[in-house]
Symmetry: C2
Subunit: 338 residues, 2 copies
């Protein structure tokens, strides 16, 4: 079933090293018999980790990369100069059609730059947004753009809405996803020039289920399946989400340790609390795809563990099986003909 | 000591009615012997509530207002047409110099419009930002603009930084407040055109302690005392702050009720948890001032109770005693001479 799906994993640059990429890849290929994974990185190290693992040898291939891109390097320069880095080598496989998807836990800036310069935008796509699934009190919502494009025009926001809608339908199985613009108020006349112009176009689009504006206070309650924003606002939302939930949980933990009775109480609530906290754990939600490129590029958290690598592989398989890229491009070609 | 400080309270439009304004005003004047409060609203109702209270009669005066502005009215139209509303009457007292400060729990839109049209901007002020104190794991941080101006130029952001710095110094007693721009990355070259241009100017300013950029994930940890943003980004931050903390606490509450042992556990941690949750309670942090007007306008939460009214009165007293308006205006006159 999963025949001919080739996925590249960049094993350099994640906080937890190559070991989690290797064990994640092994579980990923064991779950998906037809796929093949290319592990790009330090060959000897990767082969060492693989020796301990049990898997079909035809499903994993190691590709050596001798240069490293660090988190502090200027991304564009790094991508242009380090041709033998795992990032550039892996993305080149995608560009040449030898692979369908690329997963990396490395520097976001370098992944964004590499996506643009090595892989390139698909026909008809104006800008490529980074999309993140946000945990909510209901099902996760897709937020895009999370920081790839800080200054965008209204027509770019409209494309983000279309790409996000296709992604939620095809990869996450949401029927008729509710699409909203992140705005300062619910009313149509609210917002800056950019979102007002995007609203005008979106309300006439018949291909998506546009429900209007969403205020940031409604996002945690899952009031939309797809939330459209420019990269500046989207990045602010995703980072505040991360920082604020971590801070609140840390403060509560401090409160639990304040006295003997609260420590005892904390033991009793541990189990049911854990279930709640798991909802806010990004690791079982896969990575953040950079949509609209000629191939699928997925950024996973810098501190990803084996689980997130496995989820990202599954996510890539759904994406490719359902031909999400093809549907995105087709959507834009159709809309140009209107 | 507090002689000659006159504060107007708009008693119409808050979710909890006029009663909380009256009891808050009475406690406020009892705490601040030299001040006078004008209660503007439905005269008979206000007089009825006042009869039950114990206070120095010379300190509170009731002013009748016969028209109401609802939350759903277009703000500019409401302010222009309803001359006998508590909002317009109260702001007129401020404009005419009969009062120094104005507090309201009514429609934010109407308060912003009224501030502009009735009171007017102070000399040298380009735009008037709405400033909110955000709870953090340390001391509260001031975020401005929280939504009064969605499209702003870099020089406006620079003024926000200066106003915020003066406010934190004079009203909140923070020595040498750390001022930062809300941005998508910490590095100077990050961001959209607007914040990059503001950064250039702010790093040369000797009157404020500019510490560079802050990412949204650093905000909950109190990494800056003053956070500068355009009204679109600031509004997104304040509303996500509110929505996400409420949602997480609601989910945890649900978890606590999940089983008998978790219910028992919740009882044991209640006391120390309450202390933590109080930190996230905005009611003891006063209201949100609209800075840069010819008089002080303070917006308090729609659901404000007595406590928030009292805090807002104290906040106004500090603001006026320390001549924050005068210092803001002086700062801009000086900077124009440079």
């Amino acid at each position: 079933m999963d025949k001919n799906i080739n996925i590249v994993i960049d094993t350099v640059g994640g906080d937890n090293g190559a070991a989690v990429c290797v064990s994640g890849a092994v579980k990923g290929v064991n779950n998906n018999p037809g796929i093949k994974v290319y592990l790009v990185g330090h060959k000897k190290e990767l082969e060492g980790f693989l020796m301990e693992q049990d898997y079909d040898k035809s499903q994993i291939e190691v590709i050596d990369a001798t240069e490293d891109i660090s988190l502090n390097e200027p991304p564009v320069k790094a991508v242009r100069e380090k041709k033998d880095s795992s990032l550039v080598k892996g993305l080149t496989l995608l560009k040449e059609g030898k692979a369908d998807a690329f997963i990396s836990a490395g520097s976001t800036g370098a992944i964004l730059a590499g996506g643009q310069f090595v892989v390139g935008r698909a026909k008809g796509v104006k800008r490529t947004p980074l999309a993140h699934l946000l945990p909510t009190s209901g099902e996760p919502s897709l937020l895009l753009d999370c920081g790839a494009n800080v200054d965008v025009k209204p027509e770019v926001l409209v494309q983000f809405a279309e790409m996000g809608s296709i992604y939620m339908k095809e990869v996450c199985g949401v029927k008729n996803p509710r699409v909203a613009i992140a705005n300062v108020g619910l009313e149509e006349e609210k917002g800056n020039a950019q979102v007002k112009a995007a609203y005008e176009v979106l309300k006439e689009k018949k291909t998506i289920n546009f429900i209007g504006n969403i205020e940031a206070r409604g996002i945690p309650y899952g009031k939309a399946d797809v939330i459209v924003a420019d990269g500046f606002v989207g990045n602010t939302i995703i980072k505040l989400y991360e920082g604020l939930s971590k801070m609140i949980l840390k403060e509560l933990k401090g409160a639990f340790l304040a006295s003997f009775s609260s420590k005892l109480g904390a033991m009793l609530i541990k189990k049911s609390m854990k279930k709640t906290l798991l909802k806010f754990d990004a690791s079982n939600k896969g990575g953040a795809p950079l949509l609209g490129l000629k191939g699928l590029v997925v950024k996973i958290h810098g501190n990803s563990k084996e689980n997130e690598v496995i989820s990202a592989i599954d996510q890539c398989v759904s994406f490719i099986k359902n031909d999400v890229s093809g549907k995105i491009i087709k959507g834009f070609e159709d809309s140009e003909e209107e």
